[in-house]
């Protein structure tokens, strides 16, 4: 595709979307929890910025509100909550390097390519510009999923979950100009409640297995067990 055919605002959006994808990779590889929370907060800021640009570029004025909501929730409130939890759980110094970083990055790259392939039907419908951003948001969703699979630490899994939400929001904003306001409020409320509940669970898990490494939770399986 040729960038010069896009307006300046659109070019800016593509760049921002690319940076969002980049923060996803940072999240995926980041061994230190606190740094990962910061990367997640920056991702929230970038998504909010994309939302502002879509709002400024025309018809969707209610997106200013969504942008404020995203900034407040994803860039400030949830990172702050997670930060506080990590401090209270005394995990500030916790770091957990990936076992096979190269392999993980390759998998994430494959997911990005897969996303581009998957959104092909959308290309026939819409500008090449939308396709890029939708593909990037799907990639952010899938990388979030990958992160939840490979990380065994509960807080890191939650970060993966929340970054999936970021990808979903980016898709909604860029492909459709945002969902109807009622729906967006509902989704934001669900995310907030989920964040609070995750906090509750961190303490319950730690009380139960004395660690937040969820790989140690393995009592419920389908083995024919050895009692």
């Amino acid at each position: 595709m040729s960038l010069e055919h896009l307006t300046l605002l659109q070019q800016l959006m593509v760049v921002l979307a690319a940076v969002v994808l980049f923060t996803s990779f940072v999240l995926l590889e980041q061994a230190r929890l606190v740094a990962a929370i910061h990367a997640f907060a920056w991702q929230g800021v970038l998504v909010a910025l994309v939302t502002v640009i879509v709002a400024a570029s025309g018809r969707h004025t209610h997106l200013f509100f969504s942008a404020a909501l995203t900034l407040g929730l994803k860039a400030l409130l949830i990172p702050w909550m997670l930060h506080r939890l990590v401090r209270r759980l005394e995990l500030d110094r916790h770091s957990e390097p990936l076992r096979r970083p190269a392999l993980v990055i390759m998998a994430a790259l494959a997911l990005v390519i897969f996303s581009y392939w998957l959104v092909l039907p959308i290309v026939q419908q819409e500008l090449i510009f939308t396709r890029n951003i939708v593909a990037v948001s799907l990639a952010v969703v899938l990388i979030g999923l990958l992160m939840m699979v490979i990380r065994t630490q509960a807080v890191a899994q939650v970060l993966g979950f929340m970054s999936m939400e970021n990808g979903l929001f980016l898709a909604a904003v860029s492909a459709t100009g945002g969902m109807p306001l009622m729906v967006e409020l509902g989704v934001a409320f669900d995310v907030l409640v989920a964040a609070v509940l995750f906090g509750v669970f961190f303490f319950q898990i730690r009380a139960s297995i004395d660690s937040l490494d969820v790989d140690r939770m393995n009592r419920l399986t389908e083995r024919v067990d050895e009692q």
């Binding site: 998957l118 959104v119 039907p121 959308i122 026939q124 419908q125 939708v134 799907l138 969703v141 999923l145 939840m148 509960a154 899994q157 979950f161 999936m164 939400e165 979903l168 898709a171 909604a172 492909a175 459709t176 100009g177 969902m179 109807p180 009622m182 729906v183 509902g186 989704v187 409320f189 669900d190 409640v193 989920a194 509940l197 995750f198 509750v200 669970f201 319950q204 898990i205 009380a207 139960s208 297995i209 969820v214 939770m217 393995n218 009592r219 419920l220 389908e222 024919v224 067990d225």
Partner: protein, 491 residues
């Protein structure tokens, strides 16, 4: 605009807000029953209105013959479960498994859960549907970990993470659907309204709709417990308090399947003119059959009684998914009837199992023995309930499974073999565990417990009634829903 919809949907929410303030356990239990009963009364009034006017719409809600029957069913099972849970949870609290705070949490979350399900059923907006289904996860996840055992916390975490991921994919599907709608509908805010989309379904872009449907199926399919997305279900259903197991198995799975069927109706409309018009149905048939067969096999190796019945739920949901996928009036009618009788039977079974576990002091199948001698009513309840769920003739599940087999014979004869084998495997799986539990040698010192078996008798009585003769009004009601979904009538 209709008041009945608002009253039905928002009574549980109001009840939950009230229950937050009530510290007295006994009073909270009674209030819980009263709120559930008034919800059921409102749902009945709504059903009468829908019977008169075909469709009740307004204020973002839209209730037709299909969802009103699920609304009444949800309100009814909610009511009977609350009646059962009042003494049951007091017993649990007295044994020290949970605290007074836990009880308050339980009552509030029970009503909130009913609220999210009624909202998901009644809303016309696919976005709100998503919000409500996610809300149903959030309200139940703390209840799954209510007893704070390591197993319960593990089950709750798994439930939270797997359903959260699944439902996130469903949201992506919803966004893609909304994207497709924007090319057809001028008013952007109406782009998620199911009725608007259904009216313009043939104009929706087929390739985008298929993409959306795959995401939506995986997302909501996680909540239905379709294999291979079912991993959370046996854990969450077996570790939570028994009343929760009853409503999760009996109601939540239905609501998720309801969402899939609604979306299938849109996709079928969009794909009708392409060369793959049955894509959605075929996907449902594949997932449904896989769930049915795999869950039937898993029944054999269970050691925990609630886990076993969770697998039985997966099996039955698979059967319904298969039937909805096959389409056609007969299969759709069978699936609707099956939803009804399965909910009633499965919640009755979970109630009975709760008592059985209290008698034995454990959920392990090996240690539950001789129920019929220790406490005949629980033993008989379990025996009759399992006979009903396995599809024995006088009960309603036999009727719906028979209709489904006839429909399969008619349109996809080869699948009949798979279905019959699956039914036999599941039957054997249930009965090999059931027999010793009911008739085995009574362990020394096993005592009866205070049991409230009235809900069980009412449910099983209804299932028996539906098996012997489906009342005319209900048959017409289901037939109207069948007409909405499959476009053809049976009666």
């Amino acid at each position: 605009m209709s008041g009945a919809v608002f009253v039905t949907v928002f009574t549980p929410l109001a009840g939950a807000l009230l229950l937050v303030w009530i510290r007295n356990r006994n009073r909270a239990g009674w209030l819980n029953v009263m709120v559930s009963a008034s919800t059921f009364a409102a749902a009945l009034a709504l059903a009468l209105e829908v019977a008169r006017r075909e469709v009740v719409a307004g204020g973002g809600f839209r209730v037709d013959a299909f969802n009103v029957y699920l609304l009444v069913l949800t309100a009814f099972v909610g009511m009977t479960t609350s009646i059962f849970s009042r003494p049951y949870m007091q017993y649990v609290c007295a044994t020290g498994k949970t605290s007074a705070r836990g009880m308050r949490l339980y009552h509030v979350m029970f009503q909130l859960f009913i609220f999210t399900m009624l909202l998901a059923l009644a809303t016309d907006n696919l976005g709100i549907l998503w919000v409500a289904v996610e809300g149903a996860t959030l309200t139940t996840v703390l209840l799954v970990s209510l007893y704070r055992t390591p197993e319960a916390i593990e089950a709750a975490w798994k439930y939270f993470i797997l359903c959260g991921v699944g439902i996130a994919l469903a949201l992506f599907g919803t966004v893609v659907l909304y994207f497709a709608a924007q090319h057809v509908i001028d008013e952007p805010a109406a782009g998620l309204s199911w009725s608007t989309l259904h009216a313009v379904a043939p104009q929706l872009e087929p390739s985008i709709m298929s993409l959306a449907f795959v995401f939506l199926l995986v997302g909501y399919g996680t909540k239905v417990g379709l294999v291979p997305l079912h991993q959370w279900l046996p854990d969450a259903h077996s570790e939570g308090p028994t009343p929760m197991s009853a409503v999760l198995s009996g109601l939540l799975l239905n609501v998720a399947l309801y969402a899939i069927v609604r979306l299938k109706m849109l996709v079928d409309g969009a794909l009708a003119a392409t060369d793959t018009p049955y894509l959605a149905g075929q996907l449902l048939m594949g997932f449904g059959l896989a769930s049915f067969l795999v869950a039937g096999l898993f029944l054999h190796r269970q050691r925990d009684i609630k886990r076993m019945f969770s697998y039985s739920s997966i099996e039955h949901m698979g059967l319904m998914t298969f039937a909805f996928g096959m389409g056609g009036p007969l299969a759709t009618f069978a699936a609707l009837l099956h939803m009804l009788v399965h909910s009633l039977t499965k919640s009755a079974i979970f109630v009975t199992v709760g008592h059985a576990a209290h008698i034995a002091g454990t959920q392990s199948i090996e240690h539950i023995r001789g129920l019929i001698r220790t406490q005949p009513i629980v033993g008989w309840g379990l025996l009759i309930g399992v006979a009903a769920i396995a599809g024995f003739p006088p009960f309603g599940i036999f009727t719906s499974e028979f209709l489904l087999l006839s429909a399969t014979m008619q349109s996809q004869p080869w699948f009949t073999v798979a279905l019959l084998v699956g039914l036999a495997v599941a039957f054997a799986g249930l009965f090999r565990h059931l027999h010793p539990m009911v008739y085995g040698v009574v362990p020394a010192g096993q005592q009866p417990v205070p049991a409230n078996m009235i809900p069980v008798m009412v449910h099983l009585g209804l299932v028996l009634w539906l098996g012997v003769s489906i009342p005319v009004f209900l048959a017409h009601w289901l037939d109207r829903a069948t007409g909405l979904i499959s476009g053809g009538h049976l009666l």
